[in-house]
Subunit: 448 residues, 2 copies
C-alpha cells in the first residue's frame, strides 16, 4: 500500500515553519462534513469514486478487436482526455511505440505540424481512431476528428465508421448524435465524470487495454486506496491528511506553489496529469496553489536552487519508489576513474534513492516543508492507487477551500472568443470584440 510520511511538514521537522497537530485537528469538523458529503455523493461529480467498481468487459473486448484489426490507434482528445492516457502509457509501457504494436499516437492539440507527421507515420488504412470528448463538442478534438473522418472516408468509403470508436456521454452531445447516425462503436463516459477525474473511466482504460496493461489491476489499486481512505479522521486517512496539509500550508504559511517531484522517469506524464487536476480544480476565488511538475534527480540540476534560495512559497511532495523493477550495478571503477571510486559496489537504484533522501534532508535543513509519498513499485495496481489518491486529495482540498473542485468557469471566455474569431453563429459580439482588440494591438507602440 502507498504510504504518506509528513514529518517534514510538521513543526518537529520544520520548527516554526511547520504545522502543529492542533492545526490539523482544527479541520476535523469540516472534514467530518466533507466526509459525509463524499459518502453520500452529495455532489454528483463524486461519481469518479465509483469508477473503480466498473465492469471492464466491453473495454477489453473492444481492445482485443483493435489489436486484432489495427496496426495503429490514434487517440484524439485534449486536457484530461489525453493526460490520463499519456500518464498510464508512460508509467506502465515506457518506450511503447518503439517496441510494441498497435502503435498508439495521442493527438491532443491543434498544431498542424504535429498532425501532419503523425499522418505520415501511421498507415491510416490500418488505424483505429478513438475520439474522446465527453461533451461531444470540444473544439480542438472535433476539428481533428472532422479531418480524420474525411481521411478515413477517402480510404474506406461508407465503411469508414467501422474504424472509429467514440468515447463520450452515453446519451447527449454532438459526438453521441453522430455515433447514432453513422454507427460508430462507442464507450460511455458517465455524465457525472468530469474530464480531469476521468482517467479510470473508458477514457484512460481503452488505450491502456490495447497496450496490454492490466486495467483491472489499475481499478483494484484504486478500490484498495478508496478503502484505505475511508476514515473521516485525517490522522487515519492519508488523502484527508494530505489535503489538510496542503490547505494549511497555503493558508497559514503562504505556500502558494506545490511542487511534485517523482523520482521516476516513468511518472513524468503522471506529474503533468496531476498538475492539470490540481490547477483546474483549485484555481478559483482568487486562491489555489500553482502546481509545479518536477523530476528527480533531473531537476535537482534545475529547480532545486530555486526551492532552497528562492522565495519561501513552496511545499514539495516527493514520490519515492521502493523498487524500480530493474537495477544496474555500477561495477568496480577502480581502474577507470579513481575520482568516482565511491560509486563502486553501488547500483543505480541505490544512487537514485540516495539522491532523493539527500534532497529531502537538504530541504529540511533549508526549512522547506515537504512530504513524501512512498510507492512500493510502479505497476498497474500502485498506479491505480496513485490516481485515486491524488483525485481524492484534490477534491477534498477544494472543499476545504469552500470552492467547487469540479467546475472550470473561467475557461469559458476564451472559448467564446475563439468561437467569435471562427465565425460561429451567436458569437458575433465576441468576434467584434476580438476585431477591436486586434486593432488596438496593431496600433500599440509597445512592440520591438
Amino acid at each position: 500500500m502507498i504510504t504518506l510520511d509528513f514529518t517534514n511538514a510538521m513543526s518537529n521537522g520544520q520548527g516554526e515553519r511547520g504545522l502543529a497537530p492542533d492545526d490539523i485537528d482544527s479541520l476535523k469538523d469540516r472534514l467530518k462534513d466533507i466526509h459525509t458529503d463524499i459518502i453520500q455523493r452529495k455532489m454528483s461529480e463524486f461519481y469518479f469514486l465509483d469508477l473503480p467498481h466498473q465492469n471492464t468487459e466491453q473495454i477489453s473486448l473492444m481492445a482485443d478487436n483493435i489489436r486484432a484489426t489495427s496496426g495503429y490507434l490514434l487517440l484524439l482528445g485534449i486536457g484530461g482526455s489525453a493526460l490520463g492516457p499519456k500518464a498510464i502509457l508512460q508509467a506502465l509501457k515506457p518506450f511503447y511505440n518503439l517496441k510494441h504494436s498497435p502503435k498508439i499516437f495521442i493527438y491532443d492539440n491543434v498544431d498542424p505540424s504535429t498532425l501532419t507527421p503523425i499522418l505520415t507515420l501511421i498507415d491510416l488504412k490500418r488505424t483505429t481512431v478513438n475520439v474522446i470528448t465527453k461533451s461531444g463538442s470540444t473544439v480542438e478534438t472535433m476539428a481533428s476528428f472532422i479531418i480524420l473522418i474525411h481521411a478515413l472516408k477517402e480510404l474506406h468509403g461508407e465503411q469508414f465508421y467501422k474504424r472509429i470508436i467514440a468515447t463520450t456521454d452515453p446519451e447527449k452531445g454532438t459526438l453521441r448524435e453522430m455515433a447514432a447516425k453513422f454507427g460508430f462503436r462507442t464507450l460511455p463516459v458517465h455524465p457525472d465524470v468530469v474530464g480531469r477525474y476521468s482517467v479510470l473511466s473508458p477514457v484512460g482504460l481503452l488505450c491502456s487495454s490495447v497496450a496490454g496493461i492490466n486495467i483491472n489491476g489499475l481499478l483494484k489499486g484504486a478500490r484498495d486506496m478508496l478503502r484505505r481512505c475511508s476514515e473521516e479522521n485525517p490522522w487515519e486517512n492519508p488523502a484527508y491528511m494530505t489535503a489538510s496539509l496542503m490547505y494549511l500550508l497555503q493558508q497559514k504559511k503562504n505556500k502558494n506553489i506545490s511542487v511534485i517531484v517523482p523520482y521516476a522517469d516513468r511518472l513524468k506524464a503522471f506529474s503533468e496529469w496531476y498538475c492539470q487536476l490540481w490547477a483546474e480544480s483549485l484555481g478559483k476565488n482568487g486562491t489555489g496553489q500553482t502546481p509545479y511538475p518536477s523530476m528527480g534527480t533531473t531537476d535537482q540540476h534545475s529547480q532545486l536552487q530555486l526551492w532552497i534560495e528562492g522565495p519561501r512559497d513552496k511545499v514539495v511532495t516527493f514520490i519515492k519508489v521502493d523498487d524500480y523493477g530493474y537495477d544496474v550495478p555500477i561495477l568496480d571503477s577502480e581502474n577507470e576513474i579513481k575520482a568516482m571510486s565511491y560509486l563502486k559496489n553501488h547500483t543505480l537504484q541505490q544512487l537514485i534513492k540516495a539522491e532523493q533522501e539527500a534532497t529531502e534532508l537538504a530541504l529540511v535543513k533549508a526549512g522547506i516543508p515537504n512530504i513524501r509519498i512512498n510507492v512500493p513499485m510502479i505497476d498497474a495496481y500502485y498506479l491505480g492507487q496513485l490516481f485515486l489518491f491524488f483525485e481524492l486529495v484534490t477534491a477534498v482540498t477544494g472543499m476545504l477551500y469552500g470552492i467547487n473542485p469540479f467546475d472550470q468557469p473561467a475557461v469559458e471566455e476564451g472559448k467564446n472568443l475563439t468561437y467569435g474569431i471562427m465565425g460561429r453563429k451567436g458569437y458575433e459580439n465576441k468576434g467584434l470584440e476580438v476585431m477591436s482588440y486586434r486593432e488596438r494591438i496593431q496600433k500599440s507602440k509597445y512592440k520591438i
Copy 2:
C-alpha cells in the same frame, strides 16, 4: 526576426495593473551599466554570447563519422547537458526516432527502469556514446558512463574507447583525464560556459548535427539575435525590455510566477529548457520568479482556470508561431456535424492562432499581464534566435536583481549529502548526518 509585443504588460493594456513607461525608464542607468559589463565580458561566464561565432567543422566531421558508423547515439548528461539537446531535437526533428537513423537516446537520470529498456532498444555494438559533463564529475552522468564503459568493453575489448565521445572541459576534470588516458575522442566545452547556457556549444550541437539539423543555421540565428539586442536602451532592445518587464512585474506587482506558453507542440522541451535556465539562474537571495511550463492550446484545458481565477501572482509569456510549416484544412463538415459547421473552410493553423489570440484577450480582460514573442517559424535559424534571446533575458534579469545568474550554490548541500550516503571519502560527516536524519524519520509518528 523574432519580435516582442508587450502592450499587455503596460498600463494602457492593463490599467493600474500594468507598468508605466517611467517604470522602464527608471532602469535605464542600471541597464547601461549592465550593458557595459556585457560588452566588456566583465563576468567570464558571458562567454555564452561568443558561442554563436564558433567554428563547427570539428563537430560536423564527428557527426558525419557517427552517422557513417553507428545506428544509435546514446547521450549521457543531466541538467543543461540534456535539456538543450532535447529542446533542439524536439523542435526541429519531432518524432525523430520513429523516422530516422541513427536513433538518438538521451539518458538524463539515474532511473534504472529507464536505462534497462534503452539498453534493450539499442544495438550497443552499433552505438556511439556521447558523455557530456563539463566538470567531468557529475555523479549521475558518470555513474551511467561507468556502466556503459563496462558494457562497451565487453563488446569491443580494448577498442571500446573508439565508441565514446566525451564533451567536457578542454583541460580539467576527471572525464578529460580519462579521455587522455584511454584516447576517447573529445569535444571541448569552454571553461566559462555554464551548463544551462551551453545549448549552442558542442553540448547541443553534436547530436543536432547527427540528426541532420543545420547547426550553422542555429548559430546564425543566435548571432542575428545578438546584433538585434546590441542597444543599451531597453526600448530598442527586446531582451533588455523583456528582462525589465519581468523584473518590474515581480518587484512592483508581485508576479512571482512566470508562465511560458508556446503555441507549438514542438516547443515543449524548449519550455523545459527555459524553465531550468530561469529557475537555477534567478532563484537566489530569497527571490526569483518560479517559471511554469505550459502549452497552448492544450493547457487552456488545464492551467487557464488557475491563471484567471487563481492568485494574482502570474505573468504569462506567449510564444506565437506565424507559420507552422504545415496546414490541414478542416473540410466542409455540413453533412457530418452540423453543430461544428463553424469550423468549415478553416484550417488547423487558423484554429490554433485563433485560440492563442482568444486566450490572450481573455487574460487582458481578466487583468493578467502578458507579453507575446512572435516567431516567424520554427526552424534552426529562429530556434537559434530563441535560445540566445532567452539566455540574454535571463542573465540580464539576474543582474537587475543584483545576483549572479551563473552560479547555483544551493545545490551543493544535496550533492554533499549524496556523497555522504554513497560513502565518498571526506564526506563521512554528511553520512552521519543522514544516518541521524534517517533514525529521526523512522521514529516519527507522522506517517500513515
